[in-house]
Amino acid sequence: MSSDKHALYGTHVKGRKADLKKDEPKSFKVLIIDDDKWSIRILSKFLDSCGFTVISATDPADGVSKALKHKPSLIFLDIIMPDINGDQLLKILKKIEDTSNIPIIIISGNINEEKLLETYKDGAAAFISKPYTRRILFEKIEECMGFALFSFLGVVVTSDEE
C-alpha cells in the first residue's frame, strides 16, 4: 500500500487535489449511534480528522430523530444498546422512507456469523468489529461511499494510482 493512499485520508491532501468548486463545498455528515460515549469519541476523532461533520446520539430514539433532522450521508450503529437493540434500530431506519437510503455501518465488539448474516439481511452496508484500525475504518467507509467520498475530498483518481 503506497503511503499516498494514507495521504488521501489525512487532513492535508497532497498533490492530487482537484479543483474544488468555488460554490458550496458538499459537507459529509456522519451520524454515530452508540450508547458508549468513549466509542463515540474515538470514532468521532477519526472522522473529524478527515473533514466529516460528526453528529452523535446515545440512544435509539435520539438516533432516529437526528437521522431525520440531519439526513446524514452515513450512519454508524452500535449493535448492542439498551431498550431496542441495534438490529431492531437498523430495521427501523431501513423502513422509514427518509432514512432508508442512508448506508449503515454496524460496529460491534462481539460478532458471530449469525449476527453478521442477520444484519446484512436487514440492510446493513458494512460491518466493523472492535477493535478496529484507522485503515479498516476508512476502507469500510470507502466501500459504502465509493466515488462520492473521493469527490468530497477533492481527489482525482488518476491512472498513476496503483
Binding site: 430514539a61 430523530s65 431492531q88
Partner: protein
C-alpha cells in the same frame, strides 16, 4: 346508562356491513394509525374509524409503526401493548422521544390491561387506554378523548353525509 353490549361474532359481521364507506378524499385530512399485530383488530378498528370519517393506516409491527407514524403524521395512534419483538411499551417510549411523533396522542389497546401496564404506559405518556373486547361506543369515546370533540364537528362540516355514532346505534 347501559353497559356497552359485547358483540358476538355474528353481530360483528352484521355491524361491519352496515358501516358507511366514506369518501376517501375527504377523510385523508384525518389520518389515524393503528399499530397492532392482530389482523382482525386492525380491520375492526379500521372499519369503525372509517365510518366516522377517518383515514386509517395499519402497521403490523413496531418497525412499520414508527415508519408510518413519521410518514403519515396521524392525528392519533392506536397502539397494541402486546407485540412480538419490540413491545408496545418500548415503541411508545420511542415515539415520545422522536421529535416528529412526540406530540401525537397514543391510545393503548390491550387484552390484558392491568395496573402495571396502565401505570407504566401512563408514565410513558399514553393518552388513553382501551381494553379488549371493546364496543363501538367505547372506542368512539376514547377517540374523542384523545382528539377532542371539535374534530368530529370539523369532519362533519367537511363531509355532511357522514354518519356518526348516534345514528349508527339507533
Amino acid at each position: 346508562m347501559d353497559d356497552p353490549k359485547k358483540l358476538s361474532n355474528a353481530e360483528i359481521d352484521s355491524t361491519l356491513k352496515t358501516l358507511d364507506k366514506v369518501d376517501s378524499e375527504k377523510s385523508q385530512a384525518y389520518p389515524i394509525l393503528i399499530i397492532d399485530d392482530d389482523n382482525w383488530i386492525q380491520r375492526i378498528l379500521s372499519h369503525y374509524l372509517k365510518s366516522w370519517g377517518f383515514e386509517t393506516y395499519s402497521a403490523m409491527d413496531a418497525f412499520e409503526g414508527i415508519a408510518y407514524a413519521i410518514k403519515y403524521r396521524p392525528l392519533m395512534i392506536i397502539l397494541d401493548i402486546l407485540m412480538p419483538e419490540v413491545t408496545g411499551e418500548t415503541l411508545l417510549k420511542m415515539l415520545k422521544k422522536i421529535e416528529i411523533t412526540m406530540d401525537i396522542p397514543v391510545l393503548i389497546i390491550s387484552g390484558n390491561l392491568n395496573k402495571d401496564v396502565l401505570g407504566n404506559t401512563y408514565k410513558e405518556g399514553a393518552m388513553g387506554f382501551i381494553s379488549k373486547p371493546f364496543s363501538q361506543q367505547i372506542l368512539f369515546e376514547k377517540v374523542r378523548e384523545c382528539l377532542g370533540p371539535s374534530i368530529f364537528n370539523k369532519m362533519k362540516a367537511d363531509n355532511p353525509e357522514l354518519s356518526n355514532i348516534e345514528e349508527v346505534n339507533s
